[in-house]
């Protein structure tokens, strides 16, 4: 095997050699540099493979023919091999990426890069603190030179600020090293540790200086203005080197010297790291400059990694896997983002919409951002998961809160950015060329992320329990994205069908899960059928749709918390992209994501608390959690954000209404059940008795009731058909929540009936209205009218849908109402029940508005030529109508087994529904869907026949043949009464619909932004202030410590 020392020698030698080349032979110099940097890459790779293949320990490399501590020694182990591999790869790709700027600056610049990489290699390998100091200086100085690449404004002052900051930090470092040598008599880390010195006042101060200097190299918040300025001023390719290269090396130094310090240094690292993570991410919120934002984010991520190093004792054997996944995420994603930023060229975040000209770059951008935040299947997801679970087992809940809060703040700006890229205003300028020098590194890093995700997954404890087949299927869809939409659609549907077929045996006993599996998979298939109406490629739709469905079905399959959370996040990711595809959905998708993210973190927190002090992560442990109150409350609130309970609902209307026509039913009819299922899983895990005794459910009940009322009431006042349906979803999910909160057998029957019904009718309604919107190109109901003649099938679908929605017998909506009354009375929640029923009658209002304003009334001139909705929209509607009919006539087919499951299990054994063939009964009454259907059906037919008989010669008259107070109306527009239809009701109780919640969230939002905006004023731009901050940081940390 080739010694890593030879890589250092090769790099250094070629750096000296490259400096000699003349301008004319630049390309030769460039070639040489590439080769020179490829060599260490090869060496590191070789060592890494060696260490992975064998279980050998680290190898010591001696210099000068003497053993340490007398000479400088290097060490290569798995970690060093991996980190040098990363650094060398970064160096190699940087040369490629920066080819043009390098050429402008000449051979000297190439030498700088070679030396930088060499320096980083030595920093990682070296076991001698002074040696590390020297090469840290080398790396810093090389960077100061490299920032001259692709000169931008203010490079010099930024470079100067960086220089003076580095100089003062290294002064502390050197003083620290000097005294460490004085007290420890050695410069070798291992030797120092082996001596086990008694920590005296002098030694501890010396170590303090050493540690604080290394920490300051990592740019901890708030002593990091100099670094931010550098990030802003430097070419993004150089930013990548700083963020990915020097930070990597410094982090490893921190890890190496950690055993030298006393125990409390772990805590200091944790504090410093987490403060950086939180502070930097908060201040990033108001940042508009992409490079600077990347700087904030880098500092935040590195802070997290510092904290992870501080946690290394607590994480034990998991440390390596956790650090790997978090590190590699930061490294690949941040570097990739910097490179992307270089291609975009402009610094404003809004300019990133230019990415849309190259869709694959947009995808890569998404991968990078999702990696940073920690979404599956990217590596950081697994890292964060395990980190937090392990912290929880040590009861480090405060840490978890900080980490999750920081991640949330990070999400705030990253997703805003992603929104700009996907949906921001298109810039009018010419698109920049994409040459291979840019494309290759970026693409490679994106691929590496996926590979790293796989490694993290396999490495992490329990990671292998995750079913990766759907993920691979989705990846395959990404690869096949060049195919026309209908082929991909067929593949997707086939995938869902096959998956469902394979899954069925597993779930056939568990009816409860089966119901949701049917909703998720069946709904997926139905809504995808509608997608056949889309022509062209529909790039990027199917992978994300499938991702959402994979996540949903993953929830059903999940046996342990990791699987569940993995699926949950996968679902969120997929649905976010689906939602943001809508025309005006930038803001709405953003809101959706923030609420989802917040919710997910609450769930995460709850799960983590549940794992504390328990072995394993199976869902069962939720029952035996040591912190029942917190666990359940946090998880419940998390799920409530997904079901859009009042207070967390503001994302829903926009997200559902502005989504594409066939996406709305997916996200409304199907996706919302994910949250419901989450609650079910939670409550099941809590167990019946514990759940009933929990005051939480009482609160949930009230919340559900009020959500139902307000959701429905707001829906009544909507003019936008899809918004109306969206608010109606909020209301309906309120019912479900309310019913779940009963924690009784019949209550749950109600909830499941409602969920199933809502799936059926809301999917149906959204498909039907979506079809209409597709034809008339507007969401505003008052612009439609009289469409029954053009779209009779859609009309029938909507009619069936609203009858079900309103709970009018004989359709299945009534089943829910009946169960409801029984549950309410059995439970004694009369007032909440009354509110819910009031909400039910209000629902009737918007049902009428929906069908009347769209299909009835006066047809408008401009829509006379409109055709029926596409047949691909009609087919799933027909299937859904059949579904509703079957469920209405034979509810026992589904509810009976579910009821048996509920009463058979330990959860709700009391007061089940009694079934006698098709008739259900309780102590209060009975209900037979079949008989009601029969009676009403026969009666309706008889009466219809009778009327047909009586008025068989009915004569069709013209549109305006109406009695109109002596006048003849002549424009349909003024004769169609549908705008502001329920004005009297609004005057009476409209105050309930004032957007108070939206306003308070807005206030929260602006407070956070204002805070971030004023807090980041500490980065005054004055290099001297930065020095003062560094100094103050040192002094304050010292005073806190001693």
């Amino acid at each position: 095997m080739v010694s890593p020392i030879s890589s250092i020698a090769v790099l250094l030698g070629s750096a000296f050699l490259v400096g000699l080349f003349k301008k004319t032979s630049y390309s030769f110099a460039q070639m040489l540099s590439l080769l020179a940097i490829a060599f260490p890459l090869f060496v590191s790779a070789q060592w890494l493979i060696h260490f992975i293949g064998t279980s050998d320990g680290a190898v010591m490399l001696y210099t000068a023919g003497a053993k340490p501590p007398f000479s400088v020694s290097l060490q290569i182990g798995m970690a060093e091999a991996f980190l040098t591999l990363a650094v060398n790869l970064l160096g190699l790709l940087s040369i490629i990426y920066l080819m043009k700027p390098f050429k402008e600056l000449g051979v000297k610049a190439l030498a700088l890069l070679l030396i930088l990489v060499m320096g980083l290699n030595v920093i990682i390998l070296s076991r001698d603190i002074f040696n590390i100091f020297v090469f840290l200086e080398i790396a810093s100085i090389a960077l100061v030179g490299l920032i001259l690449l692709g000169k931008r404004k203010h490079t010099y002052s930024a470079g100067f600020k960086y220089l003076i900051a580095v100089a003062i930090i290294s002064s502390f470092l050197l003083v620290g090293i000097a005294f460490v040598y004085y007290f420890g008599s050695t410069l070798n880390i291992d030797d120092f540790v082996a001596q086990n010195l008694i920590v005296t006042k002098g030694l501890s101060t010396a170590l303090f200086l050493l540690f604080i200097a290394v920490l300051l190299e990592l740019k901890p918040f708030p002593a990091n203005g100099w670094a931010l300025d550098l990030y802003e001023a430097a070419h993004p390719g150089v930013g990548a080197l700083i963020s990915g290269g020097t930070a990597t090396a410094s982090l490893y130094v921190l890890y190496k010297i950690l055993p030298m310090g006393a125990d409390y240094w772990s805590d200091v690292l944790i504090w410093v790291g987490l403060i950086s993570f939180l502070g930097s991410n908060i201040l990033g919120i108001s940042q508009k400059n992409a490079n600077r934002l990347l700087g904030y984010s880098s500092i935040g991520q590195i802070g997290l990694l510092v904290a992870v190093i501080g946690f290394s004792d607590q994480l034990g054997s998991h440390f390596e896997a956790i650090f790997f996944s978090l590190f590699i995420s930061h490294f690949l994603a941040k570097v990739g983002l910097f490179w992307l930023s270089g291609w975009v060229g402009k610094t404003e975040l809004t300019a990133w919409s230019i990415l849309r000209t190259k869709p694959w770059l947009l995808l890569v951008f998404g991968i990078f951002l999702f990696t940073l935040i920690g979404f599956p299947p990217f590596p950081s997801f697994f890292g964060k998961w395990q980190l937090i679970v392990d912290l929880a087992s040590e009861h480090g809940f405060n840490w978890i809160v900080i980490i999750l809060a920081g991640s949330l703040f990070e999400g705030i700006y990253l997703f805003r950015w992603l929104g700009y890229a996907i949906k921001g205003e298109k810039s009018t300028e010419n698109k920049p060329l994409l040459d291979w020098q840019t494309a290759l590194p970026i693409g490679l890093f994106a691929l590496l992320i996926i590979g790293a995700g796989y490694v993290s997954n396999q490495w992490m404890p329990n990671g292998q329990s995750i079913n990766l087949i759907p993920v691979f299927f989705i990846l395959a869809l990404f690869v096949l994205d060049f195919l026309p939409a209908w082929i991909k659609n067929t593949i997707s549907i086939a995938g869902l069908v096959v998956y469902g077929y394979l899954l069925y045996p597993e779930l056939s006993d568990d009816t409860l899960r089966l119901v949701f599996a049917v909703i998720f998979l069946g709904g997926g298939i139905l809504t995808l059928i509608a997608g056949y109406s889309v022509k062209g490629k529909r790039a990027g739709f199917f992978p994300f749709a499938l991702m959402m469905f994979a996540g949903l079905i993953g929830l059903v399959e999940a046996d342990n918390l990791l699987q569940f959370f993995f699926a949950w996040e996968l679902m969120t990711l997929g649905s976010y992209v689906l939602i943001i595809r809508g025309k005006r959905s930038m803001l709405h998708a953003y809101n959706y994501m923030l609420f989802s993210l917040g919710g997910a973190y609450l769930i995460f927190m709850g799960m983590a608390m549940a794992t504390a002090g328990q072995s394993g992560i199976s869902l069962e442990i939720l029952r035996t959690t040591a912190f029942p109150g917190w666990t359940y409350a946090l998880m419940a609130i998390g799920f409530l954000t997904k079901t859009a309970a009042l207070g967390f609902h503001i994302w829903l209307p926009g997200a559902h209404a502005e989504a594409e026509s066939d996406v709305s039913p997916m996200v409304s009819g199907i996706l919302l059940k994910g949250g419901v299922f989450g609650l079910i899983v939670l409550f099941l895990a809590m167990g019946g008795e514990q759940a009933q005794a929990n005051p939480l459910v009482y609160v949930l009940g009230w919340l559900g009731a009020i959500t139902a009322l307000i959701g429905n009431l707001i829906a009544v006042f909507q003019e936008d058909a899809k918004k109306l349906l969206a608010y109606s979803s909020i209301g309906n999910l309120g019912y479900v929540l309310f019913a779940l909160a009963f924690m009784s057998n019949i209550g749950w029957m109600t909830a499941i009936t409602y969920s199933l019904n809502h799936f059926l009718f809301k999917t149906l309604l959204f498909l039907a209205i979506g079809g209409v919107v597709l034809r008339v190109k507007t969401h505003n109901m008052h612009e439609m009218g009289g469409l029954i003649k053009q779209m009779p099938l859609s009309f029938i679908a909507v009619l069936i849908g609203i009858i079900t929605l309103a709970g009018i017998p004989p359709l299945s909506g009534y089943a829910g109402k009946w169960l409801f009354y029984n549950a309410v009375i059995a439970q004694g929640w009369y007032f909440q029940g009354a509110i819910v029923f009031f909400a039910g009658t209000i629902a009737f209002l918007y049902c009428f508005k929906l069908i009347y304003a769209v299909f009835l009334g006066q047809p408008k001139d401009k829509f006379r030529q409109v055709k029926e909705a596409p047949v691909w929209y009609i087919i799933p509607q027909i299937i859904l109508i059949i579904g509703i009919m079957v469920f209405s006539a034979r509810p026992d087919l589904i509810l009976k087994p579910v009821g048996e499951l509920l009463s058979g299990s330990a959860y709700f054994p009391t007061d089940p529904l009694n079934w006698e063939s098709v008739t259900a009964s309780t102590n209060l009454g009975y209900w037979s869907g079949y008989k009601i259907m029969l009676v009403i059906g026969v009666m309706f037919m008889v009466l219809l026949g009778w009327l047909l008989l009586m008025s068989r010669k009915a004569q069709k008259i013209k549109q305006f043949d109406i009695v109109y107070a002596g006048e003849t109306p002549f424009t349909p527009g003024t004769t169609h009464f549908s705008h502001n239809m329920f004005a009297p009701l609004y005057r009476a109780i409209g105050f309930l619909t004032l957007p108070m919640i939206t306003q308070s969230w807005n206030r929260v939002n602006s407070t956070v932004h204002d805070f971030a905006d004023s807090a980041r004023k500490i980065y005054s731009g004055n290099g001297q202030s930065y020095l003062v901050q560094i100094l103050a940081y040192v002094v304050i940390v010292y005073l806190i410590l001693f």
Partner: protein, 126 residues
């Protein structure tokens, strides 16, 4: 606080080093002129060198060069610690490099902005 009798050569030089360090840092954070800041940095550098050399000093021993005066076999009892001196050599050169770089950047900044006031270079901020 400091007993004069306990004063010896290395503690005094160490003391000078510490005082110079603080003074240098004072200069760095208080002076507005970039050149002055750089000068202050050189003072800090010098102070660190002083500290390092003081650490390597062994009372009453001579320079770590084996010559006629110092027996090769008995060197361990005759000489001061060579290691800190080696470190200082390195540190001095590094210090020079950094100072030269700072000065070049300062010159560049001056040519860009016609000012040496560090307050005038706040274009990048927040």
């Amino acid at each position: 606080m400091i007993n004069f009798n306990s004063l010896n050569i290395e503690t005094v030089s160490m003391g000078i080093g510490v005082i110079l360090f603080v003074l240098g840092v004072w200069g760095i954070v208080s002076q507005k002129n970039i050149i002055k800041i750089i000068i202050s940095f050189t003072i800090v550098d010098t102070s660190i060198h002083l500290i390092l050399v003081s650490i390597g000093y062994i009372r009453g021993k001579s320079a770590p060069i084996i010559d006629a005066a110092i027996n090769k076999e008995n060197a361990a009892n005759e000489v001061v610690d060579p290691l800190p001196q080696a470190l200082v050599l390195t540190a001095i050169v590094i210090g020079l490099g950094i100072t030269a770089l700072m000065l070049s950047y300062a010159l560049r900044m001056y040519k860009e902005n016609k000012s040496l006031d560090i307050n005038k270079f706040k274009a990048l901020k927040w």
